[in-house]
């Protein structure tokens, strides 16, 4: 396989002035819309899709791809600054990014995520160039049994991330899974828990859930405390630069994140969100100071961000080579190809090498543009926090409402935001963590669907699922993870009891 020739074809296409300009346009628009609360990458790509109808197919795709990762990047910015995750994959970034922001370290957080995204994206593009044809063969070995096993692993890994109060963390994962059961059950077609609303037959809209739980509850809490003081007092260039210690702690997480992202992105039907959850869970486990996570640990943002961008790039592999989109956003991108009369699929690489490799090259150029564009702008974004909150939050509320409304031209989802906002506020008053709800909500239905499918295919023989090499290994890993978690909780508790006993002796 002539990788070099592909690179030449690719960059030749991508560096044409038209494509460069539209790449820049896409990246800028994507970043801007991704930053608006309530608009995730899915909404951003859907909104801008009609604009590209009149462009050349390659140019259109270059621009939309720019919008996609620009929006993912912009979403991480609003996650860090305002605790508003625009996409499922940004939810994890909130966990440590927002605390950093509250500590006046938003600049550092944005700077590190920009760098981490770029490295993750670059490695993802390299994987796309070198491995695309190989990965396709390998990914087909994943059937329902394997997907069930890997989703379950992701769910358990993510669920055991919160250890302060394991029962409360688990309860939120299960609550998320329960919310995930709302809507039509794919196997039977029965609409479950739809409360008489036709809108709920497709399930609860993720954006409405995330905006309500995180965004609205955050706004209520903030204005209940105090409104007029801006978050931070001064923004200097210095506050952007990570300390030497932070750089040292970030290196490995960035590369691990990219590896995890590349792996999950390449699997059709998983998407970037599970990669970010697992990236975060692994860093927390490997850390010698896991208690810092959730309070502004830099590893907790760079790993998921790197994983996210690597996964976004790698997700183009199954979309372009198999015609199988890994996420809803990818499905819209594929629709864009179809509208331009290009059928993604195994033949695309051979029949339209300029489109395929040109896109791959433009992904990397887009990532580079993101870097160049955003490093100087970080100061500006952070300065946004100097806007008095009393003026900022009404705008945020309006943006959330409009963004949610436009996803499917329906005010129903606006009322869902209202409901989940109240729910999020009550849950936070009761000292629940909210991120596990989103994790359960996203992974729960995937676990259920694939489990049902696997059990049907093997006619109820669970031994068959355990006997298959990939799913068997993954299930064994899941079991080991459960045992390990249980053991470390017990050990921590024993230590605590011993400490208390010592005090009692005094």
């Amino acid at each position: 396989m002539d990788v070099w020739a592909n690179i030449v074809i690719g960059f030749d296409t991508a560096l044409s002035p038209t494509n460069l300009i539209y790449c820049l346009l896409g990246v800028s628009l994507g970043t801007f819309f991704g930053m608006l609360p309530g608009i995730g990458s899915l909404a951003a790509v859907s909104m801008l899709l009609p604009i590209t109808f009149y462009l050349e197919p390659t140019t259109a795709l270059v621009m939309l791809a720019g919008v996609y990762y620009g929006a993912e990047y912009g979403g991480s910015t609003s996650s860090i600054l305002l605790n508003l995750p625009g996409t499922p994959s940004n939810a994890v970034t909130c966990l440590d990014g927002y605390p950093m922001s509250q500590q006046g370290r938003a600049g550092v957080a944005l700077f590190s995520t920009t760098i981490a995204s770029f490295i993750g994206g670059t490695l993802g593009v390299i994987a796309l160039y070198l491995l695309a044809p190989l990965i396709v063969r390998w990914a087909l070995a994943f059937g329902p049994a394997e997907y069930f096993a890997i989703m379950l692993f992701g769910l358990v890994a993510a669920a055991t991330v919160t250890q302060d109060a394991p029962a409360k963390g688990l309860a939120m994962v299960v609550l998320g899974m329960l919310l995930g059961t709302v809507g039509a059950d794919i196997t039977s077609g029965v609409p479950r828990f739809h409360f008489g609303f036709f809108e709920l037959r497709d399930g609860i809209n993720f954006i409405a859930l995330a905006m309500g739980l995180f965004g609205v509850s955050e706004i209520i809490l903030s204005i209940a405390q105090s409104v007029d003081k801006p978050f931070i007092q001064k923004v200097t260039l210095r506050s952007m630069v990570p300390t030497r210690d932070e750089v040292r702690r970030s290196v490995m997480p960035v590369f691990r994140g990219a590896g995890i992202g590349g792996f999950f992105g390449a699997l059709p039907g998983t998407g970037p969100s599970i990669a970010t959850f697992i990236g975060y869970a692994i860093e927390k486990r490997l850390s010698s100071t896991p208690e810092r996570f959730g309070k502004g640990a830099i590893e907790g943002i760079v790993s998921p961000e790197s994983a996210n961008n690597a996964a976004v790039q790698a997700a183009f592999i199954p979309t372009m080579t198999l015609g199988i989109p890994g996420s809803a956003t990818m499905a819209v991108m594929m629709g864009a190809l179809l509208i331009h009369g290009i059928q993604p699929g195994p033949q695309l690489m051979n029949q339209n090498p300029d489109i395929f490799w040109g896109l791959a090259a433009s992904f990397w150029i887009g990532n580079l543009l993101l870097l160049i564009l955003n490093i100087p702008l970080i100061g500006l974004w952070v300065r946004m926090l100097k806007i008095p909150y009393g003026v900022l939050y009404p705008a945020v509320i309006c943006f959330i409402c409009i963004g949610v409304y436009t996803v499917r031209t329906s005010t129903f989802d606006v009322f869902l935001v209202l409901f989940f906002g109240l729910m999020g506020y009550v849950l936070r008053l009761l000292r629940f963590e909210l991120a596990p709800i989103l994790i359960g909500f996203i992974l729960g239905p995937m676990v259920e669907e694939n489990f049902k499918r696997a059990m049907l295919i093997y006619r109820g023989d669970f031994g068959e699922i355990m006997g298959r090499p990939i799913s068997g290994t993954l299930l064994a890993m899941t079991a080991a993870l459960l045992v390990w978690t249980f053991w470390s909780v017990m050990r921590a508790r024993r230590r605590e009891i011993r400490r208390e006993a010592r005090w009692a002796d005094d």
Partner: protein
């Protein structure tokens, strides 16, 4: 009086109730067999697990003290009221009215905001919304409607 952490007690009971609600609700759907799981199977067992976890959380609340935090009526009322207003007004009067109302209502949650500030800010936000979503993106949102 015995010591009770009211936060965790209430938290546990809430999760317990949610679990029971879903488990009982799931009984309306077919359970199926292990090979052919019906639509009720997964929600039923998830509901049971949630109920158990709720019971555990509530049980651990006994024996230690804890007070409920205060519910911020004004803040939550203004924010949720703003969203409600937006959802109701948008299809009737269009974006301009809905955005202005949502912004103004949400600002009543801020005790420091005077009438002038509320009006000016809401007008500015309405203008920004129009510029971004209508003028720039041309989204299919009703801008200005008169239902009567």
């Amino acid at each position: 009086m015995r010591k009770v952490d009211r936060v965790d007690l209430l938290a546990g009971l809430l999760v317990l109730a949610t679990g029971v609600y879903f488990a009982v609700g799931a009984l309306e759907y077919r359970m199926g067999t292990i090979t052919r799981m019906g639509p009720g199977f997964v929600p039923f067992w998830l509901g049971v697990i949630a109920a158990l976890l709720g019971a555990v959380i509530a049980a651990t609340a006994l024996g230690r003290a804890g007070r409920l935090p205060e519910f911020a009526w004004r803040a939550s009322g203004s924010v949720l009221g703003a969203i409600l207003a937006f959802g109701v007004l948008l299809p009737l009067f269009g974006l301009l009215t809905a955005a202005f109302a949502a912004s103004a209502i949400s600002m009543t949650g801020n005790p420091a905001a005077g009438k002038r500030l509320i009006l000016l800010t809401s007008a500015a936000i309405t203008l920004i919304c129009w510029t971004v979503f209508i003028a720039t993106l041309g989204l299919p949102i009703p801008v200005w409607e008169m239902p009567f």
